[in-house]
Amino acid sequence: MKNRILLFSTLLTTLCSPLVFAEVAVIVHPSNNNALDASSVAKIYLGREKSFADGQSVVPMSMVETAPSSASFNDVVLKKSASQLKAYWSKLVFTGKGTPPKELATEEEMLKLVAGNPNLIGFVDASKVDATVKVVFKF
């Protein structure tokens, strides 16, 4: 009986706990002084904005869709599931109106690329951020 209660309470706790995602940081080159919020970042990642506020062209970089930071970014910033996002880009790719951000395999690669190019914007697990990049915001 005691075991059953323990099992039930464990199950209940597990099911009722909100899903906990690791904190994700949106990052740019350290020299980038543009003010960016979730809305403006979403526009960049959906192909609706092609420049930073200072006029410098922007190239968004994404993580592979299996990366936890990618799911979190799609959900919180873009407000779309992976399937919705793929359907959205299908409309643009197959009408010649745009291409989705390039997907990187590792966060180390993301940090290296963003640290080396002022035109890039990316996102990584916040715990991976180092001094070579600038954090725009975390969520």
């Binding site: 526009k43 609706r48 399937s83 793929k86 299908s90 409309k91 790719v93 197959f94 009408t95 010649g96």
Partner: protein, 400 residues
């Protein structure tokens, strides 16, 4: 339905294909994308004929609505790119055509100019009509997306994108032409047809959860073939009877010029809205089109869809109406009663096909690149050879 290529098309497709597929990788990055639909479709009608051309009545077909496409796009740097899309579908025995072949140049952040062979934005979703994964239907509602044959044209286009506060405005203007074949419901066959001086403009204004859109499309008809194979043969009996009853040669010539389509103006427009709010989805589109001052009939069609997203499942119900509104104004001034009656008869024949119905569609995103879809549609066609009909389908839409 198969497009008839003319030398202009070969001249265009060749260089784009070569540029896209054979550029050394050091010069250009070539991206490959594709889409496919594998769908089993069953249609049955009281009249025994299928409601849509190419469909097989009374049996389950895995050919009718299956298709595939592969697209290669070469980024030539400095904003220049070349794209070719190879496409085949079951309606055309999976014969592969270069559906698209065009160059694009990104002028700046706002404007991009393209030249070549590309999708014709006749209506709001025409450009991605074949990409099943991009929408939640098994097929876009036929009342609006009836399969107009000039869905791919040759020309130049300017795509623009503007951010207005929190809103996004996308526009497209286009000039081009098309030569091919169209389906005639009168003869139940395809006939040669062309569109010259196509001019098109459309716009979509979008917020976070809504969009409104509209567009126009005008062209001059190259209709000598449809006139000689369909319109004039339909009128032959009436013209002979009118001649026997005193119609003059001048009256006959005037009548022929009125009923013919050649060099007449075609005019299309569409408008509508889409909502995606708290997982509720609403889509509405209304379209209207005709060949002006001819025996063609004004077409007024629309669909309305309501859907709900349950995580990775979307359930959609929709209703659609394909209606024709005969306008006999082009016969004003035709005084001979037999010619008047003949003209009205031909217009009525072109306007005989109307249909409406309701459908239920389910989409299940079971994989990041694939969706399973099933649907049921029940409709009524005014042609006695079709009458009440039902359609059921299931299949998978892929993108890669």
């Amino acid at each position: 339905m198969k497009l008839q290529y003319n030398p202009r098309q070969y001249w265009l497709i060749g260089p784009v294909l070569l540029t896209t597929l054979y550029l050394p990788s050091a010069v250009a990055e070539v991206k490959l994308n594709g889409f496919a639909s594998i769908r089993g479709t069953s249609v049955s009608s009281d009249g025994g004929l299928p409601p849509y051309p190419g469909y097989e009545e009374g049996e389950l077909s895995f050919k009718t609505e299956s298709l595939f496409a592969i697209q290669a796009s070469a980024d030539l740097s400095e904003g220049l790119s070349a794209t070719v899309q190879l496409y085949g579908d079951g309606l055309n025995d999976f014969e592969v055509d270069a559906r698209w072949a065009y160059f694009s140049y990104q002028l700046n952040d706002t404007h991009r100019i393209s030249g070549g062979r590309f999708a014709n934005p006749i209506f709001h979703q025409s450009e991605y009509e074949k990409v099943g994964y991009a929408h939640n239907f098994s097929r876009l509602p036929k009342a609006v997306y009836i399969g107009l044959d000039f869905s791919t044209i040759e020309g130049i286009a300017l795509d623009s994108q503007f951010n207005i506060g929190d809103y996004n405005l996308q526009t497209k203007v286009l000039y081009g032409g098309w030569t091919g074949e169209v389906f005639s419901a009168v003869t139940n066959t395809t006939v040669g047809f062309g569109l010259d001086n196509i001019m098109s403009a459309n716009a979509t204004l979008a917020g976070d959860w809504w969009q409104v859109f509209g567009g126009v499309f005008a062209a001059e008809i190259d209709g000598a073939t449809i006139d000689s194979t369909t319109v004039f043969p339909l009128a032959a009996g009436g013209i002979a009877l009118a001649t026997a009853n005193g119609a003059t040669a001048a009256q006959i010539a005037d009548f022929r010029s009125r009923i013919g389509w050649d060099e007449k103006d075609a005019f299309y427009w569409f408008s509508g809205f889409a909502i995606d709010y708290s997982n509720w989805l609403v889509d509405f589109e209304y379209v209207s089109y005709e060949v002006k001052e001819s025996t063609d009939v004004l077409n007024n069609s629309w669909y309305l869809a309501l859907g709900h997203r349950f995580d990775n499942v979307v359930v959609t119900i929709h209703t659609e109406d394909y209606a024709q509104d005969p306008d006999f104004g082009y016969l004003n001034g035709v005084t001979h009663p037999v010619l008047q009656a003949t003209g009205r008869g031909i217009t009525s024949a072109f306007g005989q096909r109307e249909f409406d119905g309701m459908g239920l569609s389910v989409r299940y995103d079971f994989h990041p690149s694939a969706a399973f879809k099933a649907d049921y549609f029940k409709g009524t066609d005014t042609r006695s050879t079709v009458g009440d009909y039902q359609l059921f389908s299931f299949g998978i839409d892929l993108v890669f």
